[in-house]
């Protein structure tokens, strides 16, 4: 109790990073990580709504089995562009480039990221990549699927593959630079006393994410570049007609694109660790296990790409290696889920909107993770690969996981970012709507997938219609649910209640400065003498979790 009162920092409406300077130029040339985070927030949201629009088109088309709304060429472009926009321009930058950018320096007590200019550069690179991609979409679109499998993409597709590839190539550098900046910042910019094991888990997970970004992204960059060259110049590393091997492309592609899944979900896990601990006022159960499981995921994530190639078919023996490793990567994720759940034991749980998202995340991520086992298991994957089961599985991770975490984090840090409170009632309502809509959209797809409905089908056998109708209904609810936060966040920027420095009464460093923070984050460089999530003095810690003597004896 005592501890919490002492966190209070007076919040006079002072000079902060938002009103420190005015004018468009001050935003476009800013080197402040918080402003760059806002630039990212705006552009990422823009791409999210474009991607969402494509999603609605897909769902509307699939309402009927005949394929009567869109032509097949249009439909192919729509799902391709949905994938490309959502993966490369929303999911990958979403949490790291907005929340990570905003919070990493604040959480470790730094004034900025190590390379502020590179940080701004990465946003411009992202924008350039995005604009080139949008150009490709407007000029005629691309129809290869976001996976760009050769030789379809190199030789047979008659669409804007090169421009899109270029967009993705350029965007990759934005991701690399962000990851580089985070790693250097976390290594060199920590405030005095901020040891590695005092860092919030959000930082650990972003560190792991950054590792994947710098190790994986260059491989997709060169792969996409070679692909574009092959298409333009008709030379062939990947084209069987020219002596190449299309499976090599798949190896190189998935060497990045599977770990990229962890780029998307690891930051989400970091957000959830923050939310679970802070909204139950409890130190996270098994801190070091959660921290190291992030690193384990980053490392193991690179060892499992071959499970996308079980039916390609790669060698049966390679398939077995990859299957084994894929099961292994499930373990660190399981550890996280168990620890989050255990954190809630004997805690003090509030039902604020961010916590609702966190609880939703844990449930949905469990389903998403467990259904991943069906795809890691060789024999079931043979039947399930390239069906709607896969679609449902990764949407449970990407939407049920990453997007939930992103929204939860955005609500949680909104007072810090904007200096205003969002409307709590609407927040809870929309969290509920999104949860219901999401499940209605994707749960039926598991069944449709096992029944054999292949993905990327414009028209489908009529017996699958019932699942698609359910999905489309769910998607409408989901889409509606997404609009609510978009509206009230914008509304609250002007009309929301002013936020205190520490509206949630939390010990984290980012709450020990005014809301919104000043340009250099802290008035004076803080000296950290406490652990992450230290709500009560350490002396009070129950050394042995009382999970019942019978469990402890094991």
């Amino acid at each position: 109790m005592q501890a919490i009162e002492s966190f209070e920092v007076p919040t006079p409406p002072k000079v902060n990073y938002i009103n420190a300077q005015y004018g468009l130029k001050s935003w476009l040339l800013t080197k402040d990580h918080k402003r760059i985070a806002l630039l990212y927030l705006g552009s990422v949201t823009f791409f999210f709504f474009i991607g969402g629009l494509y999603a609605m088109m897909i769902r509307l088309e699939l309402l009927t089995p005949q394929g009567d709304l869109l032509q097949s060429t249009t439909y192919n472009k729509v799902f391709t562009q949905h994938g490309i926009i959502m993966v490369f321009f929303f999911l990958i930058p979403s949490i790291p480039a907005t929340l990570g950018n905003f919070l990493i320096p604040m959480m470790i007590g730094a004034k900025d990221l190590a390379f502020p200019r590179i940080n701004l550069l990465s946003w411009y690179i992202y924008l350039a990549g995005g604009l080139i991609t949008i150009y490709a979409l407007l000029a005629g679109g691309v129809d290869t699927g976001w996976t760009f499998y050769t030789p379809f993409s190199t030789t047979f597709s008659n669409s804007y593959v090169v421009a899109t590839g270029l967009g993705i190539f350029i965007n990759g550098f934005s991701s690399i630079l962000t990851g580089l900046n985070f790693i250097v910042t976390i290594h060199t910019m920590r405030a005095p006393g901020m040891t590695w094991f005092r860092m919030p888990l959000f930082i650990w997970s972003h560190y792991a994410t950054s590792l994947i970004m710098i190790l994986g992204t260059p491989v997709i960059a060169i792969t996409v570049l070679l692909l574009a060259f092959e298409r333009v110049a008709r030379v062939g590393i990947f084209d069987p007609a020219l002596g190449g091997d299309p499976v090599l492309f798949q190896h190189l592609f998935w060497f990045y694109s599977h770990p990229a899944v962890y780029i998307m979900v690891l930051p989400g896990m970091g957000v959830i660790s923050e939310l679970v601990a802070n909204f139950s006022r409890k130190n996270i159960f098994g801190y070091s296990f959660v921290a190291f499981s992030s690193l384990a995921i980053a490392v193991f994530g690179f060892l499992v790409w071959g499970h996308h190639l079980f039916v390609t078919p790669q060698s049966v023996y390679a398939g077995m290696i990859f299957s084994f490793l894929s099961f292994a990567v499930a373990i660190p994720s399981a550890i996280k889920v168990f620890n989050w759940t255990a954190t809630l034991y004997k805690s003090s749980i509030s039902y604020d909107t961010p916590m609702l998202y966190a609880l939703g995340f844990i449930g949905l991520f469990t389903i998403g993770g467990m259904t991943g086992l069906f795809l890691a298991s060789l024999a079931t994957d043979v039947h399930l690969s390239d069906t709607y089961f896969v679609i449902a599985h990764f949407h449970y991770i990407m939407v049920g996981g990453t997007l939930m975490a992103y929204l939860g984090g955005l609500h949680y840090w909104w007072p810090k970012i904007s200096g205003r409170m969002y409307p709590e009632g609407w927040g809870r309502f929309s969290a509920l709507v999104i949860f219901v809509g999401f499940n209605l959209t994707f749960l039926p797809q598991f069944v449709a997938g096992y029944l054999g409905m292949p993905r990327r089908y414009h028209a489908y056998p009529p017996e699958f219609q019932v699942f698609n109708v359910l999905s489309t209904a769910g998607a409408s609810i989901l889409g509606f649910g997404m609009l609510i936060p978009a509206i009230y966040f914008v509304w609250s920027m002007r009309y929301g209640k002013h936020a205190e420095a520490n509206p949630w009464h939390l010990p984290g460093l980012e709450w020990r400065t005014q809301s919104p923070p000043p340009t250099e984050n802290f008035e004076v460089t803080p000296i950290v003498t406490w652990d992450a999530y230290e709500f009560a003095p350490r002396e009070e810690t129950e050394v042995v979790g009382k999970f019942g003597p019978e469990l402890e004896r094991i």
């Binding site: 992204t217 260059p218 960059a221 060169i222 070679l226 333009v232 590393i237 060497f255």
Partner: protein
């Protein structure tokens, strides 16, 4: 709980110290670390191409040997020497910056730049030779030997010019040249970027910007330059030398 830390603005703060760093040491450390992390991404970037190279050499060993024997080993070896020398002068530039000798520092940088450009020049000569020999793959290159375009017109390409070893086909030789141009082209691009960076260094070095306390940029560009050197150290034997012993076989 928040206590004042040592004042951030030292009285004698170095003019090059950026506002968000505590001191020059932290700034230098961040710069070096950043470059190393970047080099890791570069390694992975080239890694994808090395993987393709390894795969196709193991699939088409004879074609790769034939094609590789067609490259000019003298120019390749000279270029290796030139690049190693430039790496040495770059290391010396860092050394002279560290001990604060301005003139040799500038001279070393200039020498590095000249050597780098020499490398690119020799590379250009090699590329031109390949162009003359019509060994550049791709439809964009006029009158290329490879591919259906020419073959269908009934002008059989003089395969003997390629000195194909038994078991090699023109198609596979084309694969070698595509990988050759992709890898050396990417390497040359890195050289060009490096040359640009060194030009910047020379400009600022002449204005006396770097001193023993602040030489992070020289050091960081040096790391980059050495990395490009290492890539070539691997490219040279892989592209020019392997299969050489089969030349007269």
């Amino acid at each position: 709980m928040i206590e004042a830390h040592a004042t951030t603005e030292d009285v004698h703060a170095h003019p090059a110290l950026q506002h968000h760093f505590e001191n020059m040491e932290q700034q230098r450390e961040a710069g070096t670390l950043g470059m190393w992390v970047f080099l890791v991404t570069e390694i992975m970037f080239f890694g994808g191409m090395f993987l393709a190279y390894t795969l196709y050499r193991s699939l088409y060993p004879w074609a790769f040997a034939s094609a590789s024997n067609h490259l000019d080993i003298t120019l390749g070896a000279v270029n290796t020497g030139v690049l190693i020398l430039s790496s040495f002068t770059m290391a010396m530039a860092v050394y002279f910056t560290q001990i604060g000798k301005l003139r040799p520092q500038v001279w070393c940088l200039v020498l590095t730049l000249v050597l780098g450009l020499t490398f690119l020049g020799i590379k250009g000569v090699e590329y031109y030779d390949k162009y003359e020999d019509r060994l550049i793959p791709g439809y964009l290159i006029p009158s290329r030997p490879f591919g259906p375009a020419v073959q269908q017109e009934g002008q059989p390409f003089d395969e003997h010019k390629l000195h194909l070893l038994h078991g090699a086909t023109v198609r596979q030789v084309e694969m070698f040249y595509w990988i050759y141009f992709a890898m050396t082209g990417m390497h040359a691009l890195h050289m060009i970027i490096g040359a640009g960076l060194i030009s910047f260094l020379i400009y600022f070095s002449l204005r006396g910007r770097y001193d023993p306390e602040y030489h992070s940029p020289v050091e960081v560009v040096g790391l980059y330059w050495h990395f490009v050197d290492i890539v070539w150290i691997f490219l040279f034997p892989l592209l020019y030398l392997l299969g050489r012993h089969l030349e007269h076989g």
